[in-house]
Symmetry: C2
Subunit: 573 residues, 2 copies
């Protein structure tokens, strides 16, 4: 087949990067091929690859507004879309609505050639898709910003290079897993004095079927790319069903993927978009179709549980709600701890699945390098740190972003009723987007006594996920009691992250043991420029897959190993 | 802790074998550390390791009969057991019946030290367990023979070294998977002109919880060991719930495991037995306990489906029923094909999950090196080959073994009502065990026209698993139609194996494509000493995990990758 993008070109362009990625997931040292500085984009790099500058990215985004987003998909029966940016502007983009009885068979028909291409070609095609997305990072930044409400810089970094990193990480894992079995083997079994038995064996990685990616509102690319690329790299067509409020970043992704697949000589229907009408519930319909054999989902626990219970024909990877805790026992850098925590609570208005919610503080206070601090002092010092961090309106807007949807706004407004407010949320005006809903975090005091959290009837507010800029300063009887509450919370509610601050080797050991036994990722004594709510691809695991917050981790062998099967054909030699 | 079996001893004894196993799963060339010849056992080998001779094995088995099988497990509330050999003798062994509210907490308490031991020590301890089991291969042979009904030689090989191979294969996979993430990483992210960000990271493989192995009647060790060792090697305690008719081989296994664990300084409750009272349904009770996080099951589709639907707190690995087909298109070794098929149908009276059931033969006949053969000729030649193979009573007994339970006996007796009988089953007398039920295979003619198998109301008998020595000679309109029926059968009923005989490159391609798309393991043109129903550990996959017969394959990355999770503890450097 004549292709615009030959196998040789793909190998030359991407094989060295794939090898580097394979090394990175092995050493887990720092690595990324995707620059995170905005100025790294624009113009042409030394390899002759162009990328959009800041201005070009803005212009590309502006051109998309108020248009039909053409994808040339088979079985388009309507055009849908009503995205309104959390910054107040209407996107006005219309997307193809699928007739799934036409689209799914077309996607299935694309499978054999993609399977035959083999793991390396699939990985390299995925990498070309990611490279082209990377070149349009500035355009994606606006698309992510105006669907998730992330501030521009975060939308650029988390929605751009960091998401691309997670996609590439999944490609590397998928490639490595498929390559573990050789393509062929010669098998010769001795038979004593008789001739040995000989067989020739061929092994082929085969896909499971169509994969469904159900996108989320807050991190459409970052949470969408791992599943998308893991499934595609293992040979499965991927149908992307975005959150109706965050379609554009994934529609752009699908368009790039279809373009690259076609240029590389494959059927572009290996990747398709399934935009939905308001209140259509398309994910529910798709999830139980027999053609759908893999599902990646990020969102509410209720729908995640529904998927796990009902989409029985598919393997289901879910990231659901959780309650993240930070244990504050003691510190030798009180100021650093406060500013680190204040940043974690403020970033994207706490609308990250990794944001701490419960700060567990002994009611008798803690030891610090600045002397002992009572519970009340720690809470007010933390409130002060948040105030200080967000005192400047420009900085506040740059950190907070906008509230993603009305439910989060209602939740932060209702938080005052949950207990004594240690830090009130306030509205911030955005200079460029008067329609944006911007809120600073609130901190509510709570009682972490065992009799409260062990009593289901007490129904402690801090034991439910309160997604958004709401956290609880939970007074506990002691650090060991904090660890017990931590264990209880992880086991019952799940946690994507756990933080702890302590100068005591014994308390550190207790926190570690709790996280190893309850299966949660632990960050200890972060006081500098790394935050508990951030993970780096190729090095940090996102989630553990072992507590109720998520049944998978990004990214490990288990995330990819069952997305394909190995078929053996053996012949007498 | 003072131990009888030190880490250094374990490394010296088993690390070279582990390395060899890791190489074998990579190349998939022939390898086994467990001799399959009975005479390889007995006396002391060059490394000073002793093993039971044939006579010693027999004596050890005889001593077990009519005794209480002591395991010193916590929470034993009763003694149960009523195994009767398919060869007609009562075993009379009584096993501890567990109070699971005592036993499960004891098993959980054993977890932290086993987790801390790390992947290498866990692998080496598992290998010591396997080595001690291997040394008692002759004793296990009798235990397997008198619970499964396998003939002695098969019980020795399949229940001994082949099962041990599959256990070791699982250990190798588990070790490799856990070792993919380094124990520690130093992460340093450049920050332009500012100082880089530094973190030190530690990664620990942590277990999921207690693993439940639900054993089967026909292959207690072969089907039990992969899950048992995969779970144990990844840090999980393992509770073994044997089939009530096949307890002894797994009870012996549990006893050896507990002895080795204890000698190596670990809590012996990491492995325990859960024998059940008649009709107790203990598997159902255990499967939904919150402590149980992994389940390995081999058995009926009905209970496998029940487990998948109800044991939602656990990862469930199932091998269920399937319908295996062989497509007969043409051959250049007609005699070899017939004798190979006759052997496959006869071995263990067709009571293997891998035995062919449906032989798909064009109704207009086939081309062979012995000239064209009509459908009727192929069927009668195959019947003749089975007759010839089993004509000698001693050989028949050595190949067939005994019928495992009354249901199989009823099924073979009822087969005559399913269609025209091409080969009738006959009873064979066992010289040593007059109480044994031994039956030769029956072959029934069937119509494989599309209008029959596409019509649910026709309810073709060959579309259901007829477990035991019953196969169907299915007349199809053509080889491509046979492939369509093959696809239909795999998709609807599942298949552990597929065979095909053809001299046509085009028909071979069709068969391969069908197996790659429907996800089934294919053996082509086997006419010698390898049979479609046999797989070799370290090289062949048993099942595909991608069709309804099994949701996992033995053994691949997916079989082990999700049995543990990786927990990261990161600290500011």
């Amino acid at each position: 087949m004549a292709t615009e993008l030959s196998a040789a070109q793909l190998i030359e362009k991407h094989r060295p990067t794939l090898d580097r990625a394979l090394e990175a997931i092995q050493t887990r040292a720092y690595w990324s091929p995707h620059p995170e500085h905005p100025k790294a984009y624009g113009g042409t790099d030394e390899s002759g690859r162009g990328s959009l500058s800041a201005g070009e990215g803005q212009a590309a985004f502006d051109e998309l507004r108020g248009t039909r987003f053409e994808l040339s998909q088979p079985g388009t029966d309507d055009w849908v879309g009503d995205e309104v940016s959390p910054y107040g502007i209407e996107l006005g983009v219309l997307y193809p609505h699928p007739d799934i009885d036409v689209l799914l068979p077309a996607m299935r028909a694309a499978m054999p050639a993609w399977r035959e291409a083999g793991p390396e070609t699939r990985a390299l095609v995925c990498m070309e898709i990611l490279a082209r997305i990377n070149a349009r990072t500035h355009e994606f930044a606006h698309a992510v910003m105006h669907t998730s409400g992330q501030a521009f810089m975060m939308a650029l970094q988390a929605g751009g290079p960091h998401a691309q990193d997670r996609g590439l990480e999944a490609v590397a894992y998928a490639y490595r897993e498929q390559e573990r079995v050789p393509g062929a083997a010669s098998w010769s079994k001795p038979q004593g004095k008789r001739d040995p038995l000989h067989l020739n064996k061929e092994f082929t990685a085969v896909p499971r079927g169509i994969a469904l990616v159900i996108g989320c509102n807050t991190f459409p690319t970052w949470n969408g790319y791992p599943g998308l690329f893991a499934s595609l790299a293992t040979g499965n067509p991927v149908l992307v069903k975005p959150h109706p409020r965050a379609v554009l970043p994934l529609a752009l992704t699908v368009r790039v993927a279809r373009e690259v697949l076609s240029e590389a000589g494959f059927d572009r229907n290996l990747v398709a978009l399934a935009a939905e009408r308001a209140d259509e519930g398309l994910a529910k319909t798709l999830a139980v179709r027999p053609e759908i054999r893999l599902i990646d989902y990020t969102g509410s626990t209720a729908f995640g549980d529904w998927l796990e219970a009902n989409a029985r024909q598919a393997l289901v990877f879910t990231e659901k709600a959780g309650v993240n805790s930070v244990v504050v026992d003691s510190t030798d850098d009180y100021k650093g701890m406060l500013s680190n925590l204040a940043f974690s609570l403020s970033l994207y208005s706490g609308q990250m699945c990794t944001t701490p919610q419960n700060i567990l503080i002994p009611r008798d206070g803690i030891q610090t390098d600045a002397g002992p601090r009572s519970y009340d002092e720690v809470v007010s010092d933390l409130a002060g740190a948040v105030d200080g961090l967000l005192g400047d309106e420009a900085r506040a807007n740059a950190l907070l972003g906008a509230i993603v949807n009305p439910q989060v706004k209602e939740r932060v407004e209702a938080a005052a009723s949950l207990g004594e407010v240690a830090l009130a949320s306030r509205a911030v005006t955005h200079p460029d987007f008067p329609g944006a809903t911007v809120r600073t975090p609130t901190i509510v005091k709570a009682d972490g006594a065992r009799k409260v959290w062990e009593n289901p009837e007490a129904d402690a507010a801090y034991l439910s996920e309160c997604f958004g800029p709401v956290s609880f300063a939970v007074a506990v009887d002691s650090t060991p009691e904090a660890i017990e509450l931590l264990r209880h919370t992880i086991r019952q509610k799940g946690a994507m992250t756990v933080g702890a601050y302590t100068t005591s080797a014994e308390m550190e050991r207790l926190a570690e043991e709790a996280c190893l036994e309850e299966c949660a990722q632990l960050s200890l004594n972060l006081t500098g420029g790394v935050y508990v709510n951030q993970t780096a691809a190729f090095s940090d695991f996102h989630g553990s897959g072992g507590n109720p917050a998520a049944n998978a981790a990004l990214c490990d062998g288990a995330f990819v190993a069952n997305r394909f099967r190995t078929i053996e054909v053996r012949r007498q030699a």
